[in-house]
Amino acid sequence: MNDRAIELINAEIDGALSRPARSELNRLLLADPAIRSLRDELRRTCQALDSVEPAEIPADLHEAIMSGLPATPIQCEERVASGRYGKPVLRYAAAFAGGLLVSALAFHFAGSGPAGLDPQDLAGTLVPARGAVVQIDLPVVKGQVVVAGTRAGPVVTSRLAATSPVTVIASTEGHEVRLDGFVAPQDAPIELSAGLGKSGTAQPIVVISVVEAATGAVLQTASVRADVPD
């Protein structure tokens, strides 16, 4: 069998056939009955595959998974961008607080403390002198969230623009603040600041989650440590 024909047939099944490739496949199909036969058989095989219904998950699977996860937050691992405005670090802190579950994360953790982005450089913001900066660069929401440790507990300051409603949640042990279903144009981002309340630890982990308001889908999550200044 012609390898090229096999490649084209599979590309057709996968919806990955370009217009020129479609023409090429048509020529091969017209010229060779064996290729036509193989194409029909493979298509039917794949249709049969696609017709297999997904299995229902066991009713207690969710509970079983949740009960298997540690209840206490794990310590995050941090890396700091080498340059003042260096490429965002591609490793993220991991921590889960107060029962908040693991979530997809893709925030850009630009730095924490003196080695990272200086929060004072964020024009127009009211960020404290020290803080972990989470850069957000999603299709629907852009901006940054700064988490700063204070003796009164972590303070979260967001400056975000969102083209469709999103909910931003900041949580730490026993405390949570939410910015529900907010929308702001790109040229007029909204800035908000809120305290999370005093935590029992000197270095509380704060989990920032961005959730699509319409679907509840987690768009991104990052975990940062809010160091309390000496």
């Binding site: 996968d14 017709s51 297999v52 998950i57 699977l61 079983a64 298997g68 991991a94 994360l105 893709a106």
Partner: protein, 159 residues
């Protein structure tokens, strides 16, 4: 939220790889625990689902290797509870297809699961399996032909 979003595809991937509900359940639990433990190692330059599916496949294959001596396929086992509209033929087809999938080598079964049960693109599969896209295509095309042959050998002709 992550569990709610991914438990079904992770469980289904494990079930299709393992053909055993209990093992699939164990794998699903292990996957989320590993996600929790290794979240700091996640490289966000890749899609998150690519990462979790990779863990799911690797855990499934590990589970298969652990149980390999007792991996005889039970062709009588159906993968899901039949719905009211299922016909006898559809059940036979589903069982036949399940048996055919289980007859594939792990690397071929993985591409079938990723493409046909999880809806991954070639690019996604290359990321998940950590092989070039060309290799993904080659495996997928071979796997489909092997499936076709396996189904024919069991007397089931698609159509």
């Amino acid at each position: 939220m992550l569990v709610a979003r991914y438990e079904k595809p992770v469980y289904n991937a494990a079930l299709r790889m393992l053909h055993d509900r209990e093992d699939a359940r164990d794998v699903a639990q292990t996957v989320f625990l590993k996600v929790y433990e290794h979240l700091a190692e996640y490289d966000p330059s890749h899609k998150f689902y690519s990462w979790i599916y990779r863990i799911a496949l690797n855990e499934s294959i590990n589970s298969l290797h652990r149980r390999r001596p007792r991996a005889a396929l039970d062709p009588e086992m159906a993968d899901g509870e039949p719905g009211p509209d299922d016909t006898v033929r559809n059940l036979q087809l589903s069982d036949g297809m399940t048996a055919a999938i289980m007859s594939l080598r792990d690397e071929y079964r993985a591409v079938i699961v990723l493409r046909h049960f999880l809806g991954c693109s070639y690019d996604d599969m290359a990321t998940i399996l950590e092989v070039p896209e060309k290799t993904v295509k080659s495996r997928l095309f071979s796997a489909r032909q092997l499936l076709k042959t396996a189904m024919e050998s069991k007397g089931w002709a698609p159509g």
